[in-house]
Symmetry: C2
């Protein structure tokens, strides 16, 4: 943040505004973490009050007209390229924040909160009719939001939603990359299934506290700093916080340790990214990731590229054995972790079928948003797409179109980040290996620091000073390249080489 | 909060302002709890940022000139007595908040933060000279704060400080009550020491996690609701939060279990009070305790009246034995818990000498504040007062005038709350027993619900709808009455009857 405040007073002032907004956001995030991990159950109402008050304050801060004036003045000031990039990110956030009128914000908050609540019961009861009117209402409001944002940002409504999660990433890039995957992955899946043996036997159950310890051991191995973060338990794993206070969670169910172990690897990937973002830009837009595609990419890099690979699993097997006290041979661990099987549930999917779940959602979501598909017809469209992409059809809507929370929350435009992230992860891992061949050998010893160092330099340190595609190009030599993911999957799941 | 919003629009609006301020305060309190219990060490800087941003927002909200206008308009509206009491409390808070100019607030924050930091090192090094200039600076600023508040509130500067912690409680009441104690307690202490036997042998050490479990068992026995609160570990025990989310901490050191057990009883007393405050007045000034004297009183009621008494200790002994796995006879537990010995450290003091530590501080604090005692002469004055009140003299300033954090934080006027609380606790317990004689028998069975029910009705449910003295009078028939504490202490420590 090296600039002369006297020569750029408006920039200095508006940067301070965004610092406060960033800090407030970190407080909201701490409360979310507390809600999921520590809060006594009876405190839900009080917590909702706290979050509502904080949200109102954050909204007021973010939409203060003074910010608009400062931005305009700052844009005329003499600034270096990083300050200009930061200013650009501020302007984009300001446009997103102020585009939506307050009554629409309130309607959206109320309707999505309600839809989420109904969804929990509807999913349990497998009752799509119960969910339907609520989801219809959410879709109406999300469309309206897309329209007002489209006008403010000068793009199409759906692009405006994509832009919330990956600012500046062109829809054409998304379409090209996901289109390539849509062409290649079904063929690849066929080849994988043709050569694959029988389903491996499950491992013995392990106690929850020992699974938790295993998670911590894994985090330590890949360089997580427990002086600046924690691991706790929650119903769904997530990462929260940033900078010097990064908290991830896992669910040590006491049954299958593998899904918990991979969830820890995933969240640790998010955490390592956050901890490597440039400290000089802390609390500033330029100090954040350039978008969720890159963030999911970092998570998938550690979960998929590293933790599902033979090298690291060779290190993990004895660690698992030590921490859980159950016998686990490395070859059996590889067979289990790398077993591919088309299933109904995205979050349980293996590395090969996971992107297919995303392609399905991207197709359905665009049709819903465009009005080509009514909510009433969603279950049928979902099941048809499942047959197309994965060759299996859900028996219930609970394990079909009602499985994910995203649309209930009004998060249309998020899903592509997962597939783009998987692609970016493959590209980055390949580039890192090319430039630092010792990485694999070190991973086989359980040492992730060499890979981390490469990511720190080539990805993390840039924050969002470069937009996603440019960051990827500088780090790997190319923009999004679905071929890198397909090649990786072929090597691991057809050739059984990694 | 039953009022007609159409007939009292200003009251309705200002109550909503105070609701938001209350909610924000609860967020700040959650962050404090997290800092002491969960936060990774490296996050201290980020936490300071978060607290600074929240404090600035809270200050802006509390001092918004619109509140002043709304208060004046509301005071002319038709309101019932409880609304009027709430409004009265708002006015008082508004006067306290706006009396202090912003630069003085900042100076105080900076100087007390610095003084606290230096104090930690100075106490460790037993270096009063190191602390002196910082404490001098704090005193100068606290005096200035007292002066501006005095002008705003129409009382003397020291009274204005007392008023921060116990609004509306006259200094004459404090002086009368503490004066009575000053006359009676030294005589009582002499009698106690004359009749007391040899120091009992210490109990075997117990593991920290088992002590923690013992704390939980004690909390459950007296009616703490774990659906609305938690027990965690921190360096110093405290209570945080309120309403449906009350979190207390203890320090299970792994050495002496008694101090931890009593600390849990103390913090549980604070917690039970918070949970019994009227839910209809939640987040409103009228829904808070009327002052810290009553709050400490509730804590001391459970710690001193209940947990140090023979009845409840008879129940605790087998519980201790079960939870800690060490043999503890009830008679030995009583002997240990009721052993009286003048010592240097307030927080380690027994029930008889504790108020004497407070009397000393009240005397010294008034002299410092009045300018009759210079900080440079504090150690000598402290030691002289120790000899007067307790008959012992500290060997070092670390175990003398540097032992407490209160003055370092600028908290002048707080200490009397502890002695007033001890008096109120004795009065309330005696009144409860008089009206519900079965309480003692039930406590002997480890059942605190009957006592709790009496407190809920006669104290908790009133929030601060009644000022402290009036609340005490309605519950016990008298205002502060030092004689009740002295009588209790004589019965327990001279007659050895309770």
């Amino acid at each position: 943040m090296d600039h002369d405040p006297r020569r750029a007073p408006a920039y200095t002032a508006v940067a301070d505004r965004f610092r406060r907004i960033g800090v407030l956001g970190s407080v909201q995030s701490l409360l979310d973490w507390d809600t999921a991990t520590m809060m006594p159950r009876g405190a839900a109402g009080a917590r909702a009050e706290q979050q509502a008050v904080l949200a109102a304050i954050a909204h007021r801060e973010a939409c203060d007209p003074a910010i608009g004036e400062l931005l305009t003045r700052a844009e005329a000031e003499a600034l270096g390229p990083p300050q200009r990039a930061n200013l650009h990110a501020m302007r984009r956030r300001w446009l997103h924040a102020t585009a939506v009128p307050e009554d629409l914000v309130e309607d959206l908050t109320r309707s999505t909160t309600e839809c989420e609540l109904v969804w929990r019961d509807a999913r349990k009861a497998n009752d799509f009719a119960m969910l339907r009117p609520h989801l219809e209402r959410v879709l109406v409001l999300v469309r309206r939001k897309g329209e007002v944002k489209a006008a403010a940002l000068g793009m199409s409504p759906y692009e405006a939603l994509l832009d919330e999660f990956n600012p500046g990433l062109p829809k054409s890039e998304v379409d090209r990359t996901l289109g390539d995957l849509e062409r290649e992955l079904p063929l690849l899946l066929r080849d994988v299934l043709k050569r694959q043996g029988a389903r491996p036997a499950p491992f013995a159950a392990a106690a929850a506290d020992r699974q938790h310890q295993l998670g911590k051991a894994l985090m330590e191995a890949v360089g997580f700093d427990f002086e600046r973060g924690r691991l706790d338990e929650s119903l769904h794993p997530f990462m929260s916080g940033g900078g010097d206070d990064i908290r991830i969670t896992t669910r040590s169910t006491g049954e299958d340790f593998i899904s918990g172990m991979l969830a820890v690897a995933h969240e640790t990937g998010h955490a390592l990214y956050e901890s490597g973002l440039p400290a000089t830009w802390r609390w500033q837009p330029a100090g954040d990731a350039p978008g969720m595609a890159m963030h999911e990419g970092q998570a998938l890099l550690w979960e998929m590229q590293v933790a599902r690979g033979r090298d690291f699993l060779g290190f993990l097997a004895p660690l698992v054995q030590r921490e859980l006290g159950v016998h686990v041979a490395a070859a059996d661990l590889v067979r289990s972790v790398q077993y591919v099987e088309p299933g109904m549930i995205r979050v349980d999917a293996d590395e090969v079928t996971y992107p297919l779940h995303i392609l399905l959602r991207y197709r359905v979501e665009r049709a819903l948003f465009a009005g080509d598909l009514a909510i009433a017809d969603l279950p049928a469209a979902w099941n048809a797409a499942m047959r197309d992409f994965l060759g299996v059809v859900p028996n219930t809507e609970a394990e079909g179109c009602m499985q994910d929370i995203h649309w209930m929350m009004g998060s249309f435009g998020y899903f592509p980040s997962y597939a783009l992230g998987a692609v970016a992860a493959a590209q980055l891992f390949q580039a890192a290996e090319r430039e630092t061949p010792a990485i694999r050998q070190r991973l086989a010893q359980g040492d992730g620091t060499l890979l981390l160092q490469w990511l720190r330099t080539n990805v993390h340190a840039h924050g969002s000073l470069l937009p996603t595609v440019e960051l990827l190009r500088q780090a790997t030599g190319r923009g999004f390249d679905a071929g890198a993911l397909v090649a990786h999957l072929r090597r691991r799941y057809v050739d059984r080489a990694t």
